[in-house]
C-alpha cells in the first residue's frame, strides 16, 4: 500500500512523459478501482490513482497509540467552585476592569472559593507580571492552580520550593522574589542564604537582593545591614540605611538620635530648632563622613526648606517620634498642639509622619492623619506614600473610625479640596464602612444636585470612590439618577458611578 503510493509519487515527480505508472494494484477494493483505470491515458490514470489512494489512506488512517506515561493528575479540590455568574463577573473584570480584581479575589478567598480553572492561566500570568497581585491570587488558586503553576517555569512564584538552581542562575527579578518568599517562610535562613553568596554578587544584585530583606525585617538583620553601610556601591548603602532607619533599636537610629538631640529642644512650651552645620563629604570632619555613611544625602535638598534644614529633616525622619514624647513628657496630641502655627511646624510634621511610618507608630498615625493636608505636599515629595502608609499603620477599623469622625464633625461642609477629610478619602483605598460611604454619597449628591460645573478633578475622584464604597449603598446611590439633569456635566458620571457600584454589589452578593 505504502509502496504503491510511493511509486505514484515518484512518477509524478519525474513526469509521465519520462515514466509511466506500472504498479500492481493491491487485492482489495482500492485495487478494484485502480484496475478500472485506463492505463493508456498516462496522466489521467496517474492523477486518478493519486486521488483514490490519498483518499483511501486518509479514511483508513490508524490513530497513533501513545505509550508514554501520563502525567500525575491533579488532586481533588478542597475549595468550592464559584457560580456561573461569579465566573462571568471575573471574566468581565479580566477583560478590562482590572481595578476590581483584588476585591473579587479577596471576597472569593473569604468565601473559600477558588478561581475557575479556565481563568487560571490568565491570572497566573497577571501575578507573574504584577507582583502586588500575588497575595490576592495565591489563596484562591486551589489545587488546580498549584498543579498548573508547577508546569510553567514562569509561574514558579506560586510554589514554595526554592531550588538552588533558580537561586544560582535565575535573573535578578527571579532571585529577588525567591529571597522574598524565603523571608516570608524563615527570615533567618533567607538572610543566611544571602550572606553566603554576598561577596560574589555584583553591586546591582546586592542592592536588589538586600531590598528583599524588608520582609519580616528585625533586629537580627541589624549587624548585616550595618556592615552593608560600608559597601562599595552607593546603591547598596542607600538600601541598607533605609532598612536600618526602620529599626528604632538599630545603631543607625541611635546615632541619628545623638545627632538631633542637641538640635531640637523643648523650652517654654515650644520646640526650638537649631540648624546643623552643612555636611561636606570632602571635608575631613569625621562626623560628616559618619553622617553620609548613615544615608544622609546633601543632594536630597528642598529649596523651600534650605540646605541645612533639609539635612535636619532627613535626620529627624530616622528618629522614632515617640522619643520626643518620652523626652518631654507629652502625648503625641500635645506635641502637635505645641508646634501648631510655629515656624517649623511643616517640617516637623513631615519628619514625624515619615518616622511614624518607619516605626509603625499607630498612636502618632492617629493624631497626624487629621492634619494630613498640612504635610501632604512634602518637602521630600512623598506625601501620597505617607498618607497611604499611615492609614495602613492605623489599621482598617481605626482608619475608618477616624475618617467617619472627621466627616461627622464637618457635616454640611462641601467636600472639596479644602475639606479636612479630602486628603484621607483620596488615599483611603480599602473597603469603606457603610456610614462613611453614606456620608460621602450625600456629599456627592450635593455636587450633582446643584450641577456644579467644571469640577473635573472632583468628578474623577468621586468616580474612584465607587471602587471602595460599601456597595449596599447602591440603592441610595440610585437616587442620583433622579436628581441629575439630562445632559448635564454630571450625567455620564452618575451612569458610570452607579454601574460600578451595582456591579460590585452583585459581584459580592454572588460570591458570598
Amino acid at each position: 500500500m505504502k509502496h504503491l503510493w510511493q511509486e505514484v509519487v515518484k512518477i509524478a515527480i519525474v513526469g509521465t512523459e519520462r515514466q509511466a505508472l506500472k504498479a500492481i494494484p493491491p487485492d482489495n477494493k482500492l485495487g478494484e478501482i485502480l484496475n478500472c483505470l485506463d492505463s493508456s491515458d498516462k496522466e489521467g490514470s496517474l492523477l486518478s490513482a493519486a486521488g483514490a489512494i490519498a483518499l483511501y489512506q486518509r479514511a483508513g488512517k490508524i490513530s497513533l497509540s501513545d505509550k508514554q506515561p501520563l502525567q500525575k493528575a491533579c488532586e481533588k479540590e478542597e475549595l468550592l467552585d464559584c457560580s456561573l455568574l461569579s465566573r462571568q463577573h471575573l471574566a468581565l473584570i479580566l477583560s478590562g476592569n482590572a481595578q476590581l480584581l483584588p476585591e473579587w479575589l479577596t471576597v472569593a478567598a473569604a468565601a473559600k472559593k477558588r478561581v475557575p480553572s479556565e481563568y487560571l492561566p490568565q491570572l497566573l500570568t497577571l501575578g507573574q507580571k504584577q507582583s502586588h497581585l500575588r497575595t490576592f491570587i495565591l489563596p484562591v488558586l486551589g489545587k488546580r492552580g498549584l498543579w498548573l503553576a508547577k508546569q510553567n517555569p514562569d509561574w514558579n512564584y506560586v510554589s514554595s520550593e526554592i531550588t538552588d538552581k533558580a537561586w544560582q542562575s535565575g535573573s535578578k527579578e527571579v532571585r529577588r522574589s525567591l529571597l522574598q518568599r524565603l523571608r516570608e517562610q524563615d527570615a533567618h535562613i533567607a538572610r543566611e542564604k544571602l550572606q553566603k553568596t554576598w561577596k560574589k554578587e555584583s553591586g546591582e544584585e546586592r542592592a536588589s537582593l538586600l531590598a528583599g530583606l524588608e520582609i519580616n525585617l528585625s533586629m537580627n538583620d541589624e549587624p548585616f545591614l550595618e556592615a552593608a553601610l560600608d559597601d562599595k556601591r552607593k546603591q547598596v548603602r542607600d538600601v541598607a540605611a533605609k532598612l536600618l532607619s526602620k529599626l528604632p533599636e538599630s545603631r543607625l537610629c541611635q546615632r541619628m538620635i545623638e545627632r538631633v538631640r542637641p538640635l531640637i529642644t523643648f523650652n517654654h512650651n515650644s520646640v526650638q530648632v537649631t540648624l546643623p552645620s552643612t555636611c561636606d563629604g570632602s571635608a575631613a570632619a569625621k562626623g560628616d563622613r559618619q553622617m553620609i555613611r548613615d544615608g544622609i544625602d546633601q543632594s536630597r535638598y528642598s529649596s523651600a526648606l534650605g540646605e541645612k534644614a533639609s539635612l535636619l529633616l532627613q535626620m529627624l525622619c530616622c528618629v522614632p517620634p515617640s522619643l520626643w514624647c518620652n523626652n518631654w513628657g507629652k502625648t503625641p496630641k500635645q506635641l502637635l498642639q505645641v508646634v501648631n502655627g510655629s515656624e517649623w511646624e511643616k517640617m516637623l510634621l513631615e519628619a514625624w509622619a515619615t518616622a511614624a511610618l518607619k516605626s509603625q507608630d499607630s498612636l502618632f498615625a492617629e493624631v497626624l492623619l487629621p492634619d494630613a493636608s498640612k504635610f501632604y505636599h512634602t518637602f521630600l515629595g512623598n506625601g501620597e506614600e505617607l498618607v497611604v502608609g499611615l492609614l495602613k499603620v492605623l489599621g482598617q477599623d481605626k482608619a475608618d473610625a477616624l475618617i467617619l469622625q472627621i466627616l461627622l464633625q464637618n457635616q454640611g461642609k462641601l467636600l472639596s479640596v479644602n475639606h479636612p477629610a479630602y486628603t484621607l478619602l483620596k488615599h483611603y483605598q480599602t473597603p469603606w464602612s457603610e456610614k462613611v460611604s453614606q456620608l460621602v454619597l450625600s456629599s456627592i449628591r450635593q455636587y450633582v444636585e446643584v450641577d456644579k460645573q467644571w469640577q473635573w478633578g472632583m468628578r474623577s475622584l468621586f468616580q474612584s470612590f465607587a471602587l471602595y464604597m460599601e456597595p449596599s449603598v447602591v440603592e441610595a446611590a440610585a437616587e442620583l439618577s433622579g436628581v441629575v439633569e439630562e445632559g448635564s456635566f454630571w450625567q455620564d458620571f452618575v451612569n458610570e458611578f452607579l454601574a460600578t457600584l451595582l456591579f460590585r454589589f452583585e459581584m459580592i452578593q454572588e460570591l458570598r
Partner: protein, 437 residues
C-alpha cells in the same frame, strides 16, 4: 416570549465590558421615554446625547437587535439595557400589537443570510437560461483545468516546483472567471505547497488528485446520485438557494452549540458555528459571512442550546445547515456528546469520507479524552482510555494552558475539527462547565 432570560444571559450578549457596564446603567426606567412589547418584540425610546431619542428594538425570538444610535457595536448598550430592564421590570412596558409597532423599522434579521425576496418577480425561463450559461462556462473552465493539470503531471512535479506563484494564481484566476470559485480556492492553496518543506511532493500530489477527482466527477455529473452531484457542485462553487432550502422540512432537535470560529480573509469574515443534535447525534455547521464592518451574527452562543428545526444543504453527508425555526432558547450545554473513543470517531470519519470525499473539516466531539503535553509545554494531542491519540495543532500557547488548566490531567470532553491529519480543539466540557477555547 418563549424563554425567560436571566441577567447573566443578557450580559453575556454584550460585545465587550464597557457595553456591559454601560448597559446596566441604562437598565433603569427613567432613561426611557417609552417602552412597549408584544410576544415577539420589545422596544423603547431612549434619550441619548443626540436631539432625537434613540429607538431600540429587540426581536426576542430571533434575538435580533436594532437601534438608531450611531454605535457600531452589536448589540449596542441601549439594546442590552432595554433587555435587562425588560427582564427586571416587565410592568414598565406597555403591551402592544404588531400593527402599532410598524412605525418602527423591522429589526435586522441576522440569522438568515439576507436573501431578500421582496417584490421579485420570478422569471423561470430567464433563470434557467442563466443557469445553463453558467454551467457552460464552468464546463469550459473545467476542461481548461484538466489540460493544465495533465500538462503539469506530464512534465513532473519537479518542474512545477520551479514555477512562479503566478503559475498557480493565473490558473486560479481563470477558474474564477469561469465561475468556479471553489476549485480556484483549491488551486490557490496549492501555490505554497512546493515550498513547504519535506513531503511537499506527496502533499501536492494529494491535492492534485483531489482536483482531478472533482474534474472526473463533474464530467459524468448526470450519471451520479443527486446528493453526490450536490457535493460536486458545492465543491466547484455553486451555492444552493437558501430560500428554497428553507421551504423544505428539517430536523427538529435540541441543538447544542459547541463552537464558534471566525476567520478573516481580506475584508471578508467567515463565521462557523458547530452544532450537535442531542437526539439525532448529528453535527451541523452554520456558516455566515460579513464584509467590512458589517456585524456578524451573535444570536448563537457557544455553551448554550436551542430547540430548533435545522434544514441541511443537500449533500451525501449533510453538515451545512440553516436555522429554519427557532422554537426556544433551551438552556446550557450540560453534556459533551459524541464519540466514546477515538476508534469510533475514526470509523465515523471514514464513513463520512466515503460519502463525501470533499469534507475538509470533520466535526469531532469526544466524550472523554486527556490532553497530553510535552515537557516544553506544547500539546502532543488528546488521548482516550485505550491509549489512542489524535495529534493536535493550531492552538495558541494561551489555549494550550487553558486546556491543561481545565483538564488537570483528568479526562474531559472536547469538541474540535479533524482535518484528516490534525485535531484542532475548539471547546472543552469539564466538571459540568462548558468553555470555549
Amino acid at each position: 416570549m418563549s424563554a425567560i432570560w436571566t441577567h447573566k444571559q443578557i450580559i453575556a450578549l454584550a460585545p465587550d465590558t464597557t457595553s456591559a457596564l454601560n448597559a446596566q446603567a441604562l437598565a433603569v426606567r427613567s432613561k426611557w421615554l417609552s417602552l412597549g412589547y408584544n410576544e415577539q418584540v420589545i422596544w423603547g425610546e431612549c434619550q441619548g446625547s443626540g436631539s432625537n431619542p434613540y429607538r431600540t428594538q429587540i426581536d426576542i425570538t430571533e434575538l435580533a437587535f436594532n437601534c438608531t444610535c450611531p454605535s457600531r457595536k452589536q448589540p449596542c448598550k441601549h439594546a442590552i439595557g432595554l433587555f435587562l430592564l425588560f427582564a427586571d421590570q416587565k410592568d414598565a412596558f406597555t403591551e402592544k400589537t404588531l400593527q402599532q409597532l410598524t412605525s418602527l423599522d423591522t429589526p435586522k434579521h441576522k440569522s438568515d443570510n439576507k436573501t431578500e425576496s421582496t417584490n421579485k418577480v420570478v422569471d423561470t425561463a430567464a433563470q434557467a437560461k442563466r443557469a445553463q450559461m453558467r454551467y457552460n462556462k464552468v464546463t469550459a473552465g473545467m476542461q481548461d483545468l484538466e489540460l493544465w493539470l495533465r500538462d503539469l503531471v506530464r512534465q513532473g512535479l519537479a518542474v512545477a516546483q520551479g514555477q512562479p506563484y503566478s503559475f498557480w494564481d493565473n490558473a486560479a484566476a481563470r477558474l474564477v472567471d469561469a465561475q468556479a470559485p471553489g476549485v480556484a480556492r483549491l488551486l490557490r492553496e496549492m501555490a505554497s505547497i512546493p515550498h513547504s518543506g519535506i513531503g511537499w511532493e506527496e502533499r501536492l500530489l494529494t491535492q492534485l488528485g483531489r482536483v482531478y477527482l472533482l474534474i472526473s466527477g463533474f464530467k459524468r455529473l448526470q450519471t451520479l446520485p443527486a446528493e453526490m452531484q450536490a457535493d460536486i457542485r458545492t465543491q466547484i462553487g455553486w451555492t444552493q438557494n437558501q430560500e428554497e432550502l428553507l421551504t423544505s422540512s428539517g430536523v427538529r432537535d435540541r441543538w447544542l452549540i459547541l463552537a464558534q470560529r471566525v476567520t478573516e480573509e481580506d475584508k471578508l469574515r467567515s463565521q462557523i458555528y458547530w452544532l450537535w443534535g442531542e437526539q439525532s447525534q448529528q453535527a451541523a455547521l452554520i456558516l455566515n459571512f460579513a464584509y467590512g464592518s458589517q456585524p456578524l451574527d451573535t444570536s448563537l452562543i457557544p455553551g448554550t442550546s436551542i430547540d430548533a428545526e435545522l434544514v441541511f444543504f443537500e449533500s451525501a453527508y449533510p453538515l451545512r445547515s440553516l436555522v429554519k425555526i427557532l422554537h426556544d432558547a433551551a438552556g446550557r450545554v450540560d453534556i459533551m456528546p459524541g464519540y466514546s473513543s477515538i476508534r469510533d470517531m475514526m470509523q465515523a470519519y471514514a464513513k463520512a469520507l466515503a460519502r463525501n470525499p470533499w469534507i475538509e473539516q470533520f466535526p469531532v466531539a469526544l466524550q472523554a479524552v486527556i490532553p497530553v503535553f510535552n515537557d516544553d509545554g506544547s500539546c502532543r494531542g488528546v488521548r482516550d482510555a485505550d491509549g489512542y491519540m489524535l495529534s493536535t495543532s493550531g492552538l495558541s500557547s494561551q489555549q494550550i494552558w487553558q486546556l491543561l488548566a481545565l483538564s488537570g490531567g483528568h479526562a474531559v470532553g472536547i469538541f474540535g475539527e479533524w482535518n484528516g491529519d490534525r485535531f484542532l480543539p475548539l471547546s472543552v466540557y469539564a466538571n459540568g462547565i462548558f468553555v470555549s477555547l
